[in-house]
């Protein structure tokens, strides 16, 4: 795979070499001998990068090896020990249907995003446009949720969901996860909407649109950047959540997300590395892929979410 990417890399540089590449080159010419500090810096960074990447490398290569080869030489892979059978076994495992878990988790991510934004956007609009004490109170109510750890409310939430008849069901899980996204979402939406000029609402009102229609058709489309931030934040947190699906859906429902499925598959067999590494590799791949493709948006979203929230 590495060899297929190499022939493509020489193509972009001629386009990019105009300004960004030229400057470092000229600077390097001015200072031919890098100082001790520079060398030390790159040694530190290189070692750091190694510490970050070796676990990933170990996970990838050991997904294709038998148990004794994993234990005797964890860092090497040879053609005679290479085998796809373990990955295939993990893919078709009866204990943990990975493909189904991808589908279910993706569905949850989509539903929570949809419900969270559909609930949060209008109330954030009301808060941002309101001038009374009630509106401020409403904002404080939601923001207080930022300081309540999800695990603290989880026990009584189980109780509430049982009363509502939604325990061990998908709607119950979506309800909880959606509520968990509301504080951050409403806070960021309201902050953003305060920067949107009121002229837009007023123009829509002049055209005869009601308040609700004016919001969805004229104001909501302007919120695109902040909606993107929220989608990034929510998607990562729902995809990675383990405690809430484990407790609200529970093993009795037979509904597994990627995390609860990994726990079910790896939890008991954690010394059988031919199960552990392929399962972890399968569980991690979509997240890594998503990260590589959307890196700029993910990092931008996290920074925006954390520094404004």
């Amino acid at each position: 795979m590495a060899t297929t990417t190499h022939p493509t890399t020489p193509v972009p540089p001629p386009v990019a070499s105009g300004t960004p590449a030229a400057r470092p080159a000229s600077r390097a010419r001015r200072r031919p001998a890098p100082g001790v500090a520079t060398i030390l810096k790159w040694v530190v960074l290189g070692l750091g990068a190694l510490v970050m990447l070796v676990p990933l490398y170990i996970m990838v290569i050991n997904a294709f090896k038998p148990q004794d080869a994993i234990i005797s030489s964890p860092l090497a892979i040879t053609p005679d020990t290479f085998s796809l059978e373990y990955l295939q076994a993990a893919l078709t495992s009866e204990k943990f249907n990975v493909v189904k878990a991808y589908g279910i988790t993706l569905l949850f991510v989509a539903l929570v995003n949809l419900c969270g934004i559909a609930l949060a956007a209008p109330v954030a609009y009301v808060i941002a446009r309101g001038r009374s004490r009630w509106h401020l109170g409403l904002l404080l109510l939601f923001v207080s949720g930022l300081f309540i750890p999800g695990q603290v409310t989880l026990i009584p939430v189980v109780f509430v969901l049982r009363v509502l008849g939604l325990i061990n069901t998908i709607p119950g899980f979506i309800l909880f996860e959606t509520a968990a996204t509301l504080p951050v979402t409403i806070f960021l939406f309201a902050a953003y909407l305060k920067t949107v000029p009121r002229d837009i609402d007023e123009a829509a009102a002049l055209d005869g649109a009601g308040k609700i229609r004016a919001f969805w058709s004229c104001v909501f489309p302007i919120m695109r950047p902040v909606v993107a931030t929220i989608v990034v934040l929510n998607s990562i947190s729902v995809w990675n959540d383990f405690v809430s699906p484990q407790i609200i859906l529970g093993p009795s429902s037979g509904i597994y997300t990627v995390t609860t499925g990994v726990y079910a598959a790896v939890g008991e067999f954690s010394t059988d590395y031919t199960t552990v590494f392929p399962t972890l590799l399968l569980a991690v791949s979509p997240a890594i892929l998503f990260f590589v493709l959307m890196q700029r948006h993910i990092i931008g979203g996290l920074v925006a979410g954390a520094t404004k929230g």
Binding site: V44, L45, A49, M52, I58, M59, I71, P74, L75, L119, A120, P122, V123, R131, S132, R133, L138, F142, G145, F147, G150, Q151, V152, T153, L154, I155, P156, F159, V160, L164, L175, F176, T178, A179, L182, I186, K211, I212, W239, N240, D241, F242, V243, I247, T259, Y263, S270, V276, F277, L280, A283, V284, A287, I288, F291, Q295, I298, L302, A306, T307
Partner: protein, 307 residues
């Protein structure tokens, strides 16, 4: 002040019209408020009520036992040990994540391609589920895992990373730092990049060294980012659970159980829901107090910059 105007106006208008004006706001805000009340506010009060009972989670009769659960939380050695370990994880984790994050951010703040690549490499574990991080390191740190395999080649005997108390505690903290400092680094990077370059130019003219520039220009100006990093990491680590479950499962001999591990075990596996609720109320209070305390303590540092 703000409410007197609408009130006066409302008195002059017929009630039906007032409600018609309010209706869109209620329709738009109502559903979110209902969901939030049902899943956040009501459960929070329920947690408090349940913490005063001896309910086991499923029987129909339970009795109010006052603050007995709270007294038990401070007496029970398992809970006290878990609370102490959680405090150690939260403190060491917060310090290390921010120290490493700031150090690396300072080294890779430039806009070169190598720096962008390094940023990706240091950050990627953050987007992987903590449970999976825990399982991965658990496999690598086990007696016959990759790390001990490598140490064996160097002639160092197997290190009991996960099977001896002190090593297991250190392994939990270092695994958390490995997977989390990238997030702190990203925020520090954003802070460092928002410092106007004129400040550095002025400092260079004044003959300030790189270290002096970092100490006297960068550090004060990223004080707000520092606060966010400290609060988010601290609050996040107080409820650490997934990574411990996968890495050590609380072992050896319960030495790495955290408070959330304890809460969930008591509430569900041990059927002591009342006791679990009491512990979670204490956690909630501690989290809120510490979060606010750090924010207020840091306000001084931030103000100094503004002046």
């Amino acid at each position: 002040m703000a409410t007197t105007v609408p009130l006066a106006r409302a008195r002059r208008r017929p009630a039906a019209r007032v409600w018609r004006d309010r209706l869109p706001g209620i329709v738009m805000g109502g559903p979110a408020v209902l969901v939030f009340l049902a899943m956040f506010i009501v459960p929070m009060f329920l947690a408090f009520v349940l913490s005063l009972t001896d309910w086991n989670g499923y029987s129909l009769n339970f009795t109010f036992i006052g603050l007995e659960n709270y007294a038990e939380a401070f007496r029970n050695p398992r809970t006290v040990d878990a609370a102490v370990f959680t405090a150690v994880v939260a403190f060491c984790g917060t310090v290390l994540c921010n120290a490493v994050g700031l150090f690396i951010a300072a080294l890779i703040a430039g806009n070169s391609r190598a720096n962008t690549l390094l940023r990706t490499i240091f950050f990627y574990p953050y987007i992987i589920s903590a449970l999976i991080i825990g399982f991965l390191w658990s496999a690598m740190l086990s007696p016959e895992g990759a790390v001990n395999g490598l140490l064996g080649h160097l002639g160092v005997g197997p290190v009991p990373f996960l099977t001896e108390v002190a090593f297991a505690k250190a392994s939990v903290i270092l695994t958390i730092v490995w997977s989390h400092f990238g997030f702190n680094m990203i925020l520090f990077l954003a802070g460092i990049k928002s410092v106007p370059t004129e400040y550095y130019e002025a400092a260079t003219v004044d003959g300030a060294s790189k270290w002096q520039q970092f100490r006297n220009v960068t550090l004060p100006l990223i004080a707000p980012v520092f606060t966010v990093n400290l609060v988010l990491t601290l609050v996040g680590l107080l409820k650490v659970y997934d990574i411990v479950l996968a890495l050590t499962d609380g072992g050896p001999a319960g030495s790495t159980q955290t408070i959330v591990y304890q809460i969930l075990r008591d509430s569900f596996a041990n059927s002591e829901l009342g006791f679990g609720a009491a512990q979670s109320v204490v956690l909630l209070l501690v989290t809120a107090v510490l979060g606010l305390a750090v924010t207020f303590a840091r306000r001084g540092a931030e103000k100094k910059v503004a002046d």
